[in-house]
């Protein structure tokens, strides 16, 4: 809990500063806060003073007839203008810092999907934030890191409050975000561009490690041929693609029907028809869920056609069939 009652430091309720840039942002923040407070006091204080002083005494009070005053009007348009230009320039300087990563920055690839982040390191070490939620984006202390980001489906946004840094993750193009952590510890990551059902449940953690420790950690990874059967791969995809948000595997109802015992069972649909859940049905339901809506369930599932690779679909079907 942040001690936001302490007004000595204006930025106390901002998260801990994890980078040098965050410190600069907080300085701008303090400047904005103080200058806004002064303007607020001038405006609202003045207004309150006038309300008190010029309260109506009787119904036929005489008032002054003042239509305008050029000097005054000039001053109160010019002075705010100058202040705002200063603020703009300050903000622009910080923005330049945000947008110019150092040449020697180490690249880490980030992919956003509904509703999981996947990190890929230079040496091929890759992992997702789900299902293993403990998987953290490990980064070294005092070394510039450049995240090269893209999205596999809809817009997301990678937001690290501790670094005061944020960048939308856009499908179809790469976006960049860089930082140089100056504080050890773990920093929260949020998704801040609305991306659907589990938008608020798409966290990640940046873990800042001492350089030596980071190097050992990254080198410990040895690329290996991925093992496991098709169903295992399907299980991974099932969690990664966020299917778990609506479909349980243990028989309980969430949003959509459960996957337990689905394969081979008889399905009744909203339009009154019914069918046996064979491979073809599963395929259709994954790719184009709207074709057959199961009775009593909402038509809420996104369409995956064109969004998912063919072998992934087979893996998913294998996995669903394994859930007896």
């Amino acid at each position: 809990m942040y001690s936001w009652l302490n007004i000595n430091l204006a930025n106390t309720f901002m998260p801990v500063e994890g980078t040098e840039l965050a410190g600069n942002v907080d300085n701008l923040y303090i400047f904005l806060l103080i200058s806004s407070l002064i303007s607020f006091i001038i405006l609202i204080g003045g207004m309150t003073a006038f309300i008190v002083k010029y309260k109506r005494r009787s119904a036929n009070d005489k008032t002054a007839y003042i239509t305008h005053n050029n000097l005054l009007e000039f001053l109160w348009s010019f002075i705010p203008f100058v202040i705002m230009m200063v603020i703009f320039y300050w903000g622009k300087l910080i923005y330049d810092d945000y947008r110019t990563p150092p040449e020697n920055a180490e690249e880490i690839h980030v992919t956003g999907r509904q509703w999981v982040w996947r990190f890929t390191y230079k040496n091929g070490y890759a992992f997702s934030t789900k299902p293993a939620n403990a998987a953290m984006l490990n980064v070294p202390l005092n070394r510039p890191i450049k995240l090269v980001m893209t999205s596999g489906d809809v817009l997301h946004s990678f937001f690290i409050p501790g670094f005061r840094n944020k960048q939308d993750v856009v499908p179809g193009r790469y976006t960049y975000l860089w930082f140089k952590a100056t504080k050890l510890g773990q920093f929260q990551v949020f998704c801040t561009e609305y991306c659907g059902l589990e938008h608020s449940n798409m966290p990640a953690t940046v873990n800042v490690m001492p350089e030596a420790e980071y190097d050992t950690w990254v080198r410990a990874y040895v690329p290996e041929a991925s093992g496991g059967g098709l169903a295992d791969k399907g299980k991974e995809i099932f969690t990664e693609r966020g299917c778990t948000a609506c479909h349980s595997v243990n028989g309980t109802r969430i949003v959509g029907p459960t996957m337990k015992g689905l394969s081979g069972s008889k399905r009744e649909f909203a339009d009154g028809s019914s069918a046996v859940a064979d491979d073809a049905y599963l395929r259709e339901s994954i790719l184009n869920s709207g074709a057959k809506i199961v009775k009593d369930y909402p038509a809420a599932m996104p369409i995956f056609k064109g969004q998912i690779e063919e072998e992934d679909v087979s893996a998913l079907i294998d996995y669903i069939k394994s859930l007896k």
Partner: protein, 531 residues
């Protein structure tokens, strides 16, 4: 000034009788009242959604037992209803329709039948949007960002189509006002003598006509995208989702000024009347409305600083956005200067005007923070933004709206609301508002993102404060509603000019004659001559 007795037998309310005479009326005053009824109803629905959202956020994790999908639909409908059905049409369609012809000394708006037609278009749009609820609803947020909106079930199409249709109503209303102001001013009513409310609504109408068509084509393309898969905004087919944002904000940023400019107009009227003083810097306020309208078209990119828009475009939009601050500051200073050496009476409408000044100053100043490039990277899409635009939209527009209702109530219905009840409602709305939304600034600074169903435990205490505040606002608006109903049923008969206003509408009877004035007035002085 007020000397003629009210002609109750000829006023617009009982000129003709029966529901049918209302539904087919081409009297701008009746159309204004019809807008008022439906918009207040939509406001009630949107408000209930807002209370549900706040209630759900009372604790971290699920509170009401609804799933995230339902929450997202609530959030979307709250936004869409409040933007497209309440705040955008609100002041122009209600007060603009009722007052602009009277303030100009005209008998009606330029195209009365078009005016009625736009009411029906508006209602059609609203019904289409609500029909979405029967087709799975929409959970895209009111911004309909692609590609998410393309991937969602077809309920989205209805909301989009509804917004498109209501946009058409907005265009027609704006067009009507522009021609009315150009062509139907009474003899002697020059452009420099029209009241500031008319100036503000005129500037708004210009934005409505020029910006809304782009929203129209954007939404049509979105529908084509969903039904045909055209691919203009769909990255899977080579489209560019950021271009959608450009098109969307080309309308939706000026729309912010559609929402707030008429409110500023109301404030100018209220402050002049209740200070009994000529508005300070009439020309400056009038032209600053136009300046805001003009500049508002070239600042939209400040909604997109982190959207992968180019750095150059970001810098350009940031500096232009700063320029909007100047005319806004001019307005605030001028209003306060109007109070100087005035004779200020704190009736309920004036309290709402003061509340507007207080809240809008906070909203405006935090707007400068958000226009600052470096700062916005942290604040973008957090609760800071939510707090900021509620300070401007609710604290600004709805405050002015409520104040305007109490101010013109005697003119509209010929009766007076109890000022004491209205003042009590102000106390609840004003305090409740600050309790609700001020903590959200802090939440945003702490990093809580917006549109979150669930949040980290450390944000809980402030969220609870905020939720409690929302109950206060809700209660305050209920009291205001009670004051209105009480005024309608039991209000005292109003004289023609109960507040001592000097604009033309106070020359008309209360409620006005069905042709506004029995004899077209001739204007020979400016609008605020208190000497």
């Amino acid at each position: 000034m007020a000397h003629t007795e009210t002609h109750t037998s000829h006023d617009y309310l009982n000129h003709q009788k029966g529901l049918w005479s209302w539904l087919t009326t081409i009297d701008h005053k009746r159309i204004g009242i019809m807008y008022m009824i439906v918009i207040l109803f939509f406001f009630l629905i949107g408000g209930i959604f807002a209370l549900l959202i706040r209630l759900e956020l009372f604790t971290a994790g699920p509170t009401l037992g609804i799933d995230p999908g339902t929450y997202n639909r609530l959030m979307t409908f709250h936004g869409a209803i409040m933007v497209f059905m309440v705040i955008v049409p609100g002041i122009p369609s209600i007060f603009g329709n009722f007052l602009i012809p009277i303030m100009l000394g005209a008998k009606d708006v330029a195209f009365p039948r078009l005016n009625l037609f736009s009411w029906y278009v508006f209602m059609t749009g609203a019904i289409i949007a609500f029909a979405s609820l029967f087709f799975g609803g929409a959970d895209t947020g009111w911004t309909f960002y692609t590609p998410y909106s393309i991937r969602q079930p077809n309920g989205v199409i209805f909301v989009v189509l509804g917004a498109f249709t209501m946009g058409m109503a907005s265009i027609l209303t704006g067009l009507n006002f522009i021609v009315t102001v150009h062509k139907l001013r009474a003899p002697g009513q020059t452009m420099t003598r029209i009241p500031l409310f008319v100036w503000a609504t005129y500037a708004t109408a210009i934005i409505q006509v020029l910006a809304t068509p782009v929203l129209g084509i954007t939404l049509l393309l979105l529908i084509a995208e969903k039904t045909l898969g055209v691919g203009i905004f769909d990255p899977a087919l080579g489209g560019d989702p950021v271009l959608f944002q450009h098109f969307f904000w080309f309308y939706s940023h000026p729309a912010v000024y559609i929402m707030v400019l008429p409110a500023m107009g109301i404030i100018s009227e209220l402050i002049a009347t209740y200070s009994k003083k000529t508005v300070f810097g009439y020309t400056a306020i009038a032209y600053s409305s136009l300046a805001i309208a003009a500049v508002s078209f070239i600042v939209w990119g400040h909604h997109m600083f982190v959207s992968s828009q180019s750095e150059f475009a970001g810098i350009m939009f940031s500096i232009i956005t700063m320029l909007v601050g100047v005319p806004t500051a001019i307005k605030l200073f001028n209003w306060i200067a109007t109070m100087y050496m005035g004779s200020i009476k704190l009736d309920a409408p004036m309290l709402f005007a003061i509340g507007f000044m207080f809240l809008f100053t906070i909203g405006g100043l935090t707007g400068v923070w958000l226009a600052t490039l470096g700062m916005d990277v942290h604040f973008h899409d957090t609760y800071f933004v939510v707090a900021h635009f509620h300070y401007v939209m609710v604290g600004g527009t709805l405050m002015a709206f409520t104040g305007g209702i109490f101010y013109w109530f005697p003119k509209m219905f010929g009766k007076i609301c109890k000022d004491s009840i209205a003042r009590v409602s102000w106390v609840f709305i004003f305090t409740g508002f600050n309790v609700t939304f001020f903590p959200q600034f802090i939440l945003g600074a702490m990093g809580m993102p917006r549109r979150y169903f669930d949040y980290l435990p450390q944000y809980e205490s402030l969220n609870q404060v905020s939720t409690v505040g929302s109950w206060l606002i809700g209660f305050g608006f209920l009291i205001a509603l009670y004051a209105i109903i009480d005024g309608l049923l039991r209000g005292e008969k109003a004289s023609n000019n109960p507040w001592g206003g000097t604009t033309l509408e106070w020359l008309a009877t209360s409620p006005p004659h069905h042709e506004n004035f029995e004899k077209t007035p001739v204007v020979s002085v400016g609008p605020y001559e208190y000497r």
